[in-house]
């Protein structure tokens, strides 16, 4: 219902003159706050000089608005206040690992010795940067048990691309052209997208009733034309693939490679090494397991741990231990002559390397192991506290995330979406919805280890109450949710049918008519 209806129904929402609601301020676009000629940065004009732009000067207005610093600070502060964030509350998104982002990481990443160095400075002037990258590589190799790590990919999906490209290069070096990549049906969309992008046919592998890869089906699908299996472990249903050693053996038996999507590494870091599971190639998400901030959608960093069979193909640049210390290898030559090439400009997401290393050093081997244990403990605690209120997809233990489906909403007229939107009014960001695709109306909850027991108990209380409300037929609160947010449900249909993807000034004709 609209605010007016709500007001008429005495539902407690009042209309204000401004449309503001207390601390929630309506804020126009910067383009609608233009003071032409104004500037929030004081810059001196240069003394007259003879330009050398070859007559290609820019003419005509660009169309950017002019604002003062107070206006800009107020604008973006108001925008920030409309966002939910980890700093605000529990962010239970499955497979995203929304853990606390330590502020020490931000401080250290901003040291001029890291923030203000150029990737193309003479290597002798950036010895500390190479040392940091080497230290990070050492931690990642030790944690994964793998002998090599490619650090340049810019995010997880980019790491997947790196891994599949390297696998293909390894196969081509063996003189083999394989055509298929096996991907579980429960996989994240980036997996099949990556495999298809590299020219492979994606062959989906269904899960067994317990939600894991069906070993028999997998073996039937494996053959000499399979390049790789892309597996997430623990999987996207929050379960550890307990037959993983058999899976690895089966994959290797046909000469294929075992790729692991490391999005869920938080469940096993310090307790299991992927190399010991038979994995040949695994990308890590520094912005998940290793706490670098999600930033509203990036930047991330997706290093890829590699077995010896794939390491020679890793993308440039390489950081190697030479006779005179650390060397940056930027060209195909010597031991790096078989590389797949370069996947990104420069050397990788250094800003995220600093943050991740600070995180790892802060936790240490003991702390990281505790991270996995607490992550798994928190998820299982939610599981047992909620299993009689929501419908648990798989009975029995889970790892760091727990999967529910929408059976508990059957015949209530309330969908998973409605349920999630009601959660928003209670002050929580919803859990992951409708993923993985293998269950109906999925609700995937990953609390992470940085939630206190009190926080979890509070979350449990809210979910129990909402589930009870849903069952007792209070559908209206779910259908109208959220009601207390800066915006209510938004029309995604019209956004897609008639895309408006930028601001445009009003046509002069329209203004004159007013």
């Amino acid at each position: 219902m609209s605010d007016r209806q709500a007001a008429e129904n005495g539902v407690g929402l009042i209309e204000t003159i401004t449309g503001n609601r207390g601390l929630q301020i309506e804020e126009k676009l910067i383009f609608e706050q233009d003071s032409p000629g104004h500037c929030g940065v004081d810059l001196a004009d240069p003394a007259p000089f003879r330009a050398r732009l070859g007559g290609l000067e820019r003419h005509g207005a660009i169309g950017l608005p002019g604002l003062s610093e107070p206006q800009v600070v107020r604008h973006f502060t108001r925008l920030s206040q409309k966002n939910y964030a980890i700093d605000s509350g529990l962010y239970p998104l499955g497979s995203c690992t929304m853990k606390h982002n330590p502020r020490l990481n931000e401080k250290l990443a901003r040291l001029p010795g890291f923030a203000d160095i150029h990737p193309l400075q003479p290597v002798s002037t950036v010895a500390g940067a190479l040392a940091l990258i080497d230290a990070l590589a050492h931690w990642l190799k030790t944690l994964t048990g793998m002998p090599a790590v490619a650090l340049s990919p810019g995010a997880g999906a980019h790491g997947e691309l790196c891994g599949i490209m390297s696998i293909r290069a390894a196969l081509e070096a063996r003189g083999e052209q394989r055509s298929r990549v096996l991907v579980p049906e429960s996989a994240h969309g980036t997996n099949p997208a990556t495999a298809a992008a590299c020219g492979y046919t994606v062959d989906p592998v269904p899960g067994n009733p317990q939600g894991r890869v069906d070993l028999g089906v997998l073996k039937a699908k494996l053959g000499a034309d399979v390049a790789a299996l892309m597996l997430t472990n623990p999987n996207t249903c929050g379960l550890f693939e307990n037959e993983i050693l058999e899976i690895a053996a089966a994959v290797h038996a046909v000469g294929a490679f075992f790729y692991c999507d490391g999005a869920n590494f938080n469940a096993i870091v310090g307790r299991v090494r992927p190399a010991d599971l038979g994995i040949d190639c695994m990308h890590l998400n520094l912005h998940k397991t290793f706490s670098t901030p999600h930033g509203g959608g990036g930047p991330g960093s997706g290093p890829v741990a590699l077995a010896a069979s794939i390491a020679p193909y890793a993308p440039l640049p390489w950081l190697v231990h030479g006779v005179d210390g650390l060397e940056l290898v930027e060209r195909k030559s010597g031991s790096a002559q078989h590389v797949i090439g370069r996947l990104k400009g420069f050397h990788g997401q250094m800003g995220m390397f600093v943050r991740a290393l600070a995180y790892m050093m802060s936790h240490g081997a003991d702390g990281l192991r505790q991270v996995a244990e607490d992550a798994v403990l928190n998820a299982n605690y939610l599981r047992v506290r909620l299993e009689s209120d929501l419908s648990l997809t798989s009975p029995g233990r889970c790892m760091h995330e727990v999967l529910f489906d929408d059976r508990f909403l059957k015949d209530t007229g309330i969908t998973t979406l409605d349920f999630a939107k009601a959660l928003i009014d209670e002050g929580y960001h919803p859990m992951t919805m409708y993923f993985p695709l293998v269950v109906h109306g999925a609700l995937l909850i990953e609390p992470t280890e940085t939630e206190s027991k009190a926080s979890l108990d509070q979350f449990v209380g809210v979910l129990k109450s909402l589930a009870a409300e849903a069952r007792t037929g209070h559908a209206a609160r779910f259908h109208s949710a959220p009601r207390l947010t800066p915006r209510r449900r938004l029309d995604e249909t019209i956004a897609a049918r008639k895309p408006i993807l930028r601001w445009r000034p009003e046509p002069v004709r329209q203004r004159a008519a007013e």
Binding site: A47, I117, G295, L501
Partner: protein, 448 residues
């Protein structure tokens, strides 16, 4: 451990609630052979003091840009970032929020991305821009792949003036995604014939403006030739600030712009994280990679924003997606948006002028030196010099004297002897007269 809120008592209570004796029971699905019983061979937990000490020690071994006369460009530029930018991006609601999949609680992110998309479109002179990609080099590869999809052709031409990293990334993608590239040789001083290479099998031609050597050109004629052949023109911009001074790609007939936005709002960061910009024509929008934010209304009729046209993306199309991309460069895009909001039209144009003036002032000094010759006819804030001796040892020598003099082209092309004498030099608003004097003095001394 300061980041782990659970107490031992909490853990005991929770294990009891779960009904297991120890945490090991919850790891029972791990095959015994793969279980780590003890700790890995890595240092134990450290407090802030120790971590800061260890990492600061590494930072101290690097020469930071503002501690010396600094003249390095090559696709990443040292500019002044107003103090407000870093304060705002560190607000927890920006720093620690996720991708705006729940628009009702993400209007902050969605609104600034909409502003960002508008800014990028305006700067580049294009109709529509996405919410950013990883960096300029991957944006360039994505542009070529988009051109392939749109033209249903498979072969593209890369100018020799394209940043070598961008070329290399395109070549990697070409090899594995399966398309062809004709990459021209590096061309400091120009002289390549791109028009002659455009045919009816060409998907796109990729040029960079200003190019890797700093030269500025008008690509309008090339755009016409491409369009006559049914091909697209992709223009790469590695120094986005240049668009405050020179004609934008959109006014030259570009179909896709792939650019690097690091110059606005984002520090050098040793090459990452940076900020890929991507812009194109409205009619091509459904073939664009990356996230897009669109305007809409909520149930109360109030204007708001959502991620839109998502069916192009991996989480829906899976193996048929336009790209496998998931993450964009959100916080870097925010920094860009804030910086450009502070600058505004007048400030951007003035800042661009300051940059060009700095480069002009620098070349006037350096051209005086015997053994130094300017290669460029035109430039914005970066140009190429031909020295009387190989540039790499000179750069090393100057570094030892505390001047970061630029990039020797041989770093990218060590096997091309004719490139060994080329030095690529950038001067931004951060280069003072004293810096330039020192550069001139040390270079003259070293060349003498």
């Amino acid at each position: 451990m300061r980041y782990l809120p659970l107490t031992e008592r909490d853990r005991r209570e929770m294990l009891e609630a779960i009904g297991v004796d120890s945490i090991d029971a919850l790891f029972a699905d791990v095959p015994p052979a793969a279980r780590l019983d003890g700790l890995l061979d890595l240092p134990r937990a450290m407090g802030e003091i120790e971590v800061e000490r260890a990492i600061s020690e590494m930072a101290a071994r690097n020469v930071a840009a503002d501690s010396v006369p600094f003249f390095i460009g090559g696709g990443a530029y040292r500019h002044h970032i107003p103090a407000a930018v870093d304060h705002l991006i560190q607000r927890g609601e920006f720093l620690t929020s996720y991708t705006p999949y729940q628009p009702e609680v993400s209007q902050g992110t969605l609104q600034y991305l909409f502003e960002f998309q508008t800014q990028v479109a305006l700067l580049t002179g294009m109709e529509v821009a996405n919410a950013s990609l990883y960096d300029g080099a991957t944006a360039c590869a994505e542009a070529v792949m988009m051109a392939n999809r749109l033209t249903r052709r498979n072969r593209s031409v890369l100018s020799g003036g394209l940043h070598p990293h961008y070329r290399e990334v395109c070549e990697t993608y070409a090899r594995f995604v399966g398309f062809e590239l004709a990459a021209l040789d590096p061309a400091p001083g120009g002289g390549e014939d791109l028009a002659g290479l455009v045919g009816r099998d060409t998907a796109c031609v990729v040029v960079q403006n200003p190019d890797f050597y700093g030269e500025i050109r008008d690509y309008s004629e090339l755009a016409r030739i491409c369009h006559d052949a049914g091909a697209l023109l992709v223009v790469v911009v590695t120094e986005i600030l240049s668009l405050g001074a020179i004609r934008p790609p959109g006014e030259m007939g570009a179909d896709i712009v792939a650019a690097e936005g690091q110059s606005l709002g984002n520090a050098l960061n040793f090459g990452g994280p940076h900020l890929g910009l991507f812009a194109s024509r409205d009619k091509f929008v459904r073939q664009m990679p990356g996230r897009l934010v669109g305007e809409t209304v909520d149930v109360d009729g109030r204007r708001g924003w959502v991620l839109t046209l998502s069916t192009r993306e991996q989480h829906i199309r899976r193996e048929k997606a336009t790209s496998n991309i998931c993450t964009n460069s959100g916080l870097c895009a925010l920094a860009f948006t804030i910086h450009l909001a502070l600058l505004g039209e007048a400030g951007l144009i003035r800042l661009a002028r300051l940059n060009h003036a700095a480069a002009v002032a620098l070349i006037e000094r350096l051209e005086r030196i015997p053994g130094v010759q300017l290669v460029n006819r035109t430039f914005f804030n970066e140009f190429s010099l031909r020295l009387s001796r190989p540039a790499a040892p000179i750069v090393e020598a100057l570094a030892e004297k505390g001047v970061l003099a630029g990039i020797p082209l041989s770093r990218f092309y060590p096997t091309l002897p004719e490139m060994a004498d080329i030095l690529i030099v950038a001067a931004t608003e951060m280069a003072t007269g004293e810096d330039m004097d020192r550069f001139e003095r040390e270079l003259a001394e070293t060349l003498a």
